[in-house]
């Protein structure tokens, strides 16, 4: 029994020694409160002898989670929770760790354990957001189906993206008037939407996808009803998850109706590749081909080719910011008969967006986008090659009333600048909507 005896003595000595260095846990806490999780993690690594002490494990676990070392973080928080199972804060952090690691069953169990203890509403709302995301990710493992209905309304300052000036100068025609339909027209509108999606795993990491949606924008103004929009879409595809990579291939059909007449039909195939670089960074690449047909305006029929990259970065900081950028190169190639290359164009799009969570149940988002369109040939009417620069600003606020019901307000400002007066327009769109998910 010499060994165990000495071990016990050693443990006592160790405990005594470590007690005299209680400062590291306090330092970790201070750094975490300052939002310096990476520094806290580095400090924790330099005090390996403190591992196993509850206070140290607690803060070290959070620091590891927040700085992208979720595996270490989960092990540290597990140590704490085993010792202090009634500490809801630690359990919530542990649940978050499981979530980050993708251990969804355990994440759900721990979140539910906290929920059963009736935490404050703000905490419940935070947990519900995680649970929503868990449900979304569980499509990898089990057959899932979700749906939504939406109702809302708003005001659109330019329902038809028309221009403000009723008379324009056309080199080949002189001064030309526009029909009333071509002029900027504002109207309030009713928004209706519904949709659903499903996922069915068929092999490890492989799932079949499908979904459909219908959305309508119905203008209030009697004149503007001719610009009522309806969008119907359906898609199917397959997703493959390998390691940190998600591949997705989809085929989709959609039609855009204007005044209940088919305006544009599209059939597209797309491929996406997303890599989860770490807990905070995701990169993506996508390719798309679409066949665009305009039943009432066949001169615009075209093939669309697109390729792009995106990056998404989440920060562990107040309001949990998530930043996203996207760049797209595209080409719309007219194939009407005869071909109208003045309607063919190259597109370059840049978009940046920021999402914030200022408080439980609340979400904020804002984004800027720019699209440069350069057409291929001179417009036969205007005798110049069309060039457009589109600038967009969007902002949104959402509030989740319950697990299923959310309210959302969105604002979009569009400004399309063109070297041809006919295509210049500005537009302000405000939408308020309620969404019920099931």
């Amino acid at each position: 029994m010499r060994g165990p005896g000495l071990a016990a003595v050693a443990a006592i000595l160790l405990f005594a020694c470590s007690e005299s260095f209680a400062a590291p846990a306090d330092e970790l806490r201070t750094l975490l409160e300052q939002g310096r999780s990476a520094d806290a993690y580095a400090l924790g690594r330099s005090h390996a002898e403190e591992l196993g002490k509850p206070d140290f494990d607690f803060y070290y676990g959070i620091a590891a989670l927040d700085s992208g070392h979720a595996g270490e973080g989960v092990l540290a928080l597990e140590r704490y929770v085993v010792r202090f199972p009634d500490n809801d804060r630690a359990r919530l952090e542990l649940a978050r760790g499981y979530f980050v690691l993708g251990e969804l069953v355990r994440a759900r169990e721990e979140f539910e354990t906290v929920l059963r203890k009736d935490p404050p509403p703000a905490v419940q709302a935070t947990i519900e957001r995680f649970m929503d995301s868990i449900r979304a990710q569980e499509t990898r493992y089990s057959t899932t189906a979700t749906g939504y209905v939406e109702i809302g309304g708003g005001y659109d300052s330019n329902v038809n993206s028309g221009i403000g000036n009723p008379v324009i100068s056309v080199p080949t025609l002189g001064t030309v008037q526009l029909t009333q339909a071509g002029l900027k027209s504002g109207s309030s509108f009713l928004h209706l939407g519904a949709g659903g999606s499903m996922s069915h795993p068929v092999a490890p990491g492989v799932a079949l996808l499908g979904g459909a949606s219908a959305e309508f924008k119905l203008n209030a103004g009697s004149f503007d009803k001719q610009f009522d929009l309806g969008a119907l879409a359906a898609y199917g595809g397959v997703s493959v998850i390998q390691d940190k990579d998600l591949y997705r291939a989809t085929f989709s059909l959609s039609t855009l109706e204007v005044d209940y007449n088919r305006f544009r039909d599209s059939a597209s195939v797309g491929g996406e590749w997303h890599r989860q670089v770490d807990e905070f960074n995701t990169g993506s690449v996508f390719l798309q081909y679409a066949r665009l047909q305009y039943p009432s305006s066949p001169a615009r029929n075209a093939d669309f080719y697109g390729a792009g990259v995106g990056w998404r970065r989440a920060y562990v900081a107040p309001m949990q910011p998530v930043f996203q950028v996207q760049a797209l190169l595209g080409q719309e190639k007219n194939d009407a008969s005869p071909v109208r290359d003045d309607l063919s164009r190259d597109l370059y799009t840049l978009r940046g967006g920021l999402a914030l969570t200022p408080a439980a149940r609340w979400g904020l988002s804002a984004g800027l986008s720019y699209t440069r369109s350069r057409f291929k040939e001179a417009d036969p009417l205007f005798l110049v090659t069309r060039g457009d620069d589109y600038y967009g600003f969007d902002a949104g606020v959402s509030y989740r009333l319950s697990k299923q019901l959310a309210l959302r307000g969105d604002y979009l400002h569009s400004d399309n600048r063109s070297n041809i007066e006919l295509y210049k327009y500005t537009r302000d769109l405000i939408t308020l909507r309620a969404r019920y998910e099931f």
């Binding site: 003595v9 595996g71 597990e78 500490n87 952090e93 978050r96 009723p166 009417l381």
Partner: protein, 501 residues
């Protein structure tokens, strides 16, 4: 401190036979280190050595941190052996474990990062696991994984890779599994199977916490809401693919490929004379497409019921249409028509107004290039039209009279002859005055003039405008509005060549 731990570890070793391989970070419940014949009850800080076997009882949990900084979390009901462990400068590093029962989660350390199966391996009853990564979980079931809430679970080894890759080797060969994959090995002679989802018993539920109920620790729950990496940051939520442009009306094309919103080539000249929303009588001339005028009838027998001229005015008749008339030289080249809306709603200048006595005249437009290239002079007289009306109680006295016009195409000018309109409430009188001929390329041509006169000795103005009709520009549809204070009147007429002109 580290050297102290090592020193104490060495001191506790039986016969100093082997160095400390690691220490317990957690030992809750029934956790025992079996070292030779000895069984040591483990606690936090208890060292472990190469050759030790760790036994974790029911409702118990343990974690060991090895000296290469790897951490192994042992679940309840586990028997885990450190078969051979070496991590020092004196020998080649190696880390060979055996999972005899139960399961563990591990985040590997320096030895694991060597990616060498000779250096790192975990033996299970069904396979040996090597690693190319850093984080995985393994459970071996031997009639101990099922239960009331889990149903019957097949015996064998189950695993899941959280990060990196692992190699599973048994009699069937070597099989590699990447992050986010799960596998099952039934026996040493059975190839591993991929699993779609992690078995629900794979991850430890920390049953050791049952021994610590009532412990809340020092950390407050007040900041619970702080928790939460943004749920939207997961990779499964991907940005939407590019979408085609939304509906833009000006990009609409006709079947001929032209912008659909361009008004059709002007086909008609339109002149209206009414008391505008601002109070003065006005004469409005526009070059319009057929669809801008809503009409009944045909040829020189048409009646206008509504019009919509973007940027100029729009209106709808709300009552009888009086004084309808028409003119054509007989070949359909002019088809001038006029009339008076007894009551109508007209929007001009952004304001809608219900008014009485709105006069109109329209006819086939003269191509603007005809007027632009025309030279010489032309004398014209009124050859029909409406009887002027007034906006106060009163009526026109006598036959309608419109001034003569003398056009000079070289000078693009028009001389308006003197004229007077007599109503029962007074007489508008205007001396001769001058106006202009105007041409809008691509659209049409017309005349306009503004003349100052009197209304029963009170100053008055006359606003006149009109459009050329007919292929040669020998006809004019003209409207005149006269105003004096709150009194206004208006009328329209068709002009033709003066006899002998």
């Amino acid at each position: 401190m580290r050297s102290l731990i090592i020193l104490l570890g060495l001191l506790s070793a039986p016969g100093l036979a082997s160095a400390q391989a690691g220490r317990f970070l957690l030992a809750v419940g029934d956790v025992v280190v079996v070292r030779g014949q000895a069984e040591i009850r483990a606690a936090t800080g208890t060292p472990v050595r190469s050759g030790d076997t760790i036994r974790v009882g029911p409702a118990s949990n343990a974690q060991i941190r090895m000296t290469d900084e790897s951490i192994v979390g042992l679940r309840p009901g586990t028997v885990f052996a450190i078969d051979a462990y070496e991590y020092s400068e004196q020998a080649e590093p190696r880390s060979i474990f055996s999972l005899l029962k139960g399961g563990f989660r591990t985040v590997t350390g320096a030895i694991g990062r060597l990616h060498n199966r000779e250096r790192y391996a975990v033996r299970t009853p069904t396979a040996t696991i090597g690693i190319r990564g850093t984080h995985y979980t393994v459970v071996h079931c031997d009639n101990d994984c099922g239960g009331a809430d889990r149903g019957s679970i097949s015996n064998g080894t189950y695993g899941g890779v959280t990060d990196g890759r692992i190699e599973v080797v048994n009699q069937t060969g070597e099989h590699e599994f990447a992050a986010n994959t799960f596998f099952y090995v039934a026996s040493a002679g059975t190839a591993p199977q991929n699993l779609i989802a992690p078995p629900n018993f794979l991850y430890d539920r920390l049953e050791g916490q049952a021994r610590s109920r009532g412990n809340q620790g020092n950390e407050s729950s007040e900041t619970l809401a702080r928790s939460g990496l943004n749920a939207e940051s997961r990779s499964s939520e991907v940005p939407p693919p590019p979408q085609p442009s939304p509906f833009i009306v000006t990009e609409q094309r006709t079947s001929s490929g032209q912008p659909a919103v361009l008004a059709a080539a002007s086909a008609l000249g339109f002149t209206g004379a009414w008391t505008s929303a601002t109070g003065d009588a006005t004469s409005v001339t526009a070059f319009v497409s057929n669809e801008m005028l809503t009409r009944t009838g045909s040829g020189a027998s048409q009646t206008l019921t509504a019009f919509n001229i973007p940027g100029t005015a729009s209106g709808t008749a709300l009552g009888p249409i009086n004084q309808s008339g028409g003119f054509d030289p007989g070949d359909g080249s002019v088809n001038a028509n006029w009339g008076v809306w007894a009551v109508g709603s007209i929007t001009d200048g952004g304001t809608t107004r219900i008014l009485e006595g709105a006069h109109y005249i329209f006819g086939n437009l003269t191509p603007p290039e005809v007027i632009a290239t025309r030279t010489g002079t032309l004398s014209m007289i009124s050859s029909g039209g409406t009887t002027p009306t007034i906006n106060v109680v009163g009526s026109f006295v006598g036959a309608p009279t419109y001034p003569t016009l003398s056009l000079d195409f070289d000078m693009r000018s028009v001389r308006v002859g003197a004229f007077s309109w007599s109503f029962t409430v007074g007489t508008f009188s205007f001396p001769a005055g001058d106006g202009t001929i105007f041409v809008v390329p691509g659209r049409g041509a017309g005349v306009k003039a503004s003349i100052t006169g009197t209304f029963s000795s009170v100053p008055a103005t006359a606003a006149m405008s009109g459009a050329f009709f007919g292929p040669a520009g020998n006809y004019l549809g003209v409207g005149i509005g006269v105003t004096s204070g709150a009194v206004s009147g208006q009328g329209v007429t068709i002009y033709t060549r003066a006899p002998g002109a």
